[in-house]
Amino acid sequence: MLRIAVCVKAVPDPKEATRIKIDPVTRTLLRRDVPLVTNHLDRNAVEAAVQLKEELDAHVAVISMGPPPAETIVRECLALGADEGILLCDQAFGGADAFATAYSLAKGIEKMGGFDLVLCGMASSDSGTEWVGPKIGALLGIPVVTAVREIVERDGRSWKVKASLENGYRLVRVRLPALLTVTRELNTPRALSFSGIVSARKKEITEWGINDLGVQEEAVGLRGSPTITANLTIMNGKDSKRAVEMITGTREEAAERLVEKLAAAGML
């Protein structure tokens, strides 16, 4: 049986995320009640796992580190077809940077038992570092391929994948157990089904804190993070070199005037 772990993150809904600002005094995020959703690219990772399960004998576990409300997105992944859900939830995990996050998730994956395949979305929409996936792989000591957009061939435990580059792709052979981070080109995530939602209600979500993982408090969360956010400048984005000239009039007139301006500037 192929054992698959999928790492998922609850992120503020990107459609409303611009409402999030940093409080200039406390330097904490003002989330303004933006709802949490499953990170877009993690949906592609879940979809890939569920598709593998439909084809092969596979077991799919999702694991997330987050505050208690993140349980809803783990439940959503169960409704999409995952077999098992784990939420790493502990005050001590708070304030983690990519390294401390990867460390905690790697410990969680180790505790879940041997895995053949770990899947992550390539990046999260809120912090966007792209680091958590590869760092988990490095900490687990397994090979990593980032930005996987297609699984070309599976020959037992030897897989061939396409990994996106700025201007093309890499054809990569990787032997399981391995960690892959995936892009949106990999698949089209399925929609939630009613029967999925019903069956997810019966599945259990395990919650683990630092004691369950057997990790030191200094190794996780803010304290386990090598990086700190030291300083903040609020910028209004205003470009002082430019003074805007608004082009007004009816639609036709505005379009015509804009064309004139661009032509006068030698841009057409």
Partner: protein, 350 residues
């Protein structure tokens, strides 16, 4: 875990992990070396570059020209393509021996995979897609990234090296001194690698039309396109202007266009003559990707959008309705210009 020696005197080198394609050092690497030179000078330490590849004879001089003191050179057919296992192993081993103070990596496809693999192995911090790097009064690297309507400085005070990836184009090209030379330290390829992951081939796919990086006109579309139909109207504008089509993150997330067209902090950095932003809000993560544009235009339905504070010309309108009209007006202008020029330059009868 490498710990920083706060007592002062000894300070490791500043490192840049450079890249080359087809026997040429990449522009982004040279820009990074140029900026790293300044950091090294301020710290009073040397600037060292790591370059791995397959056929690097005659390739490395530009690194010295840009300011490197020393180049660690892994030149071996096994390194011709980026191989995550070997590359990671070599950089980790060298960093463990040499204990650099700072390690900078380009935010390229390779850099974005290699940097976290190396950082995790060295158990140090890594800041993503920085747009600026400065030293504070204690010589700690402030790694600046845009976030949530501000600019934050991220530091890695206790562990070494301080690692960051940097977008191409945020630092200027340094003055190249063609006569500069330095020390070349050859690196051995480790003979014991597990071989669990292997790059077999690199396939290039040239995007249609003008590449963003060299385009003199760019039309960028955002969430305001509304749907694929709206997006196609923006694409039409790009076509009629013979412009490259760029995007913001939501446009990519919606699947209207590929990630390779995203402009910004985690996308491409561009410097066109003319930039037209359509249905996008001017968020800093996008705008840092546009440097030195001569003329900037925004089309947005919200008169209060912050994008209007960052451009030369603004039009407040629904882009889905305005853009097709603009396309027509551009075509008319072209026809008029054409008929004028054929009248003035056309065959004249005696």
């Amino acid at each position: 875990m490498p710990m920083h020696d706060n007592m002062g005197a000894r300070c490791g080198a500043v490192w840049v992990i450079a890249e080359q394609t087809d026997g040429r050092i990449r522009t982004g690497s040279l820009q990074l070396v140029g900026h790293a030179r300044k950091l090294a000078n301020q710290l009073g330490t040397c600037l060292e570059v790591v370059l791995l590849g397959g056929n690097l004879v005659g390739v490395i001089q530009p690194l010295f020209a840009a300011g490197a003191d020393r180049v660690y050179l892994g030149n071996d057919p096994d390194l011709a393509l980026y191989q995550p296992e070997i590359y990671t192993e070599m950089v980790v081993k060298l960093a463990t021996e040499q204990e650099p103070e700072i390690m900078l990596v380009g935010s390229t496809s390779m850099g974005r995979e290699l940097a976290p693999l190396v950082a995790a192995r060295l158990q140090t911090g890594l800041t993503a897609h920085c747009i600026d790097l400065v030293l504070d009064e204690n010589g700690i690297l402030e790694q600046r990234v845009p976030a949530y309507g501000g600019l934050v400085s991220i530091t890695c005070p206790d562990r070494r090296p301080q690692m960051a990836t940097v977008a191409r184009g945020v630092f200027p090209m340094p003055q190249l001194d063609e006569d500069s030379t330095g020390e070349v330290v050859p690196l051995d390829v480790p003979d014991e690698v597990p071989g669990r992951v292997q790059t077999l081939e690199v396939i290039r796919e040239e995007p249609e039309g003008v590449p963003l990086e060299i385009a003199s006109v760019i039309v960028a579309g955002g969430a305001g396109a509304g749907d694929l139909d709206g997006w196609c109207k923006i694409a039409d504008l790009a076509k009629v202007l013979n412009a490259a089509l760029g995007s913001t993150r939501p446009a990519v997330d919606e699947g209207w266009i590929g990630l390779e067209t995203m402009i910004g902090q985690s996308g491409k950095v561009v410097s066109p003559e003319l930039y037209i932003g359509v249905g996008l809000s001017g968020e800093m993560q996008h705008m840092v990707g546009i440097t030195g544009a001569k003329v900037m235009v925004a089309i947005n339905s919200d008169a209060k959008s912050p994008v209007f504070e960052q451009v030369d010309y603004g039009v407040v309108d629904d882009c889905r309705k305005f853009v097709p009209v603009l396309v027509e007006k551009i075509k008319e202008h072209r026809e008029r210009a054409l008929s004028r020029s054929s009248r003035s330059h056309g065959p004249t009868s005696i």
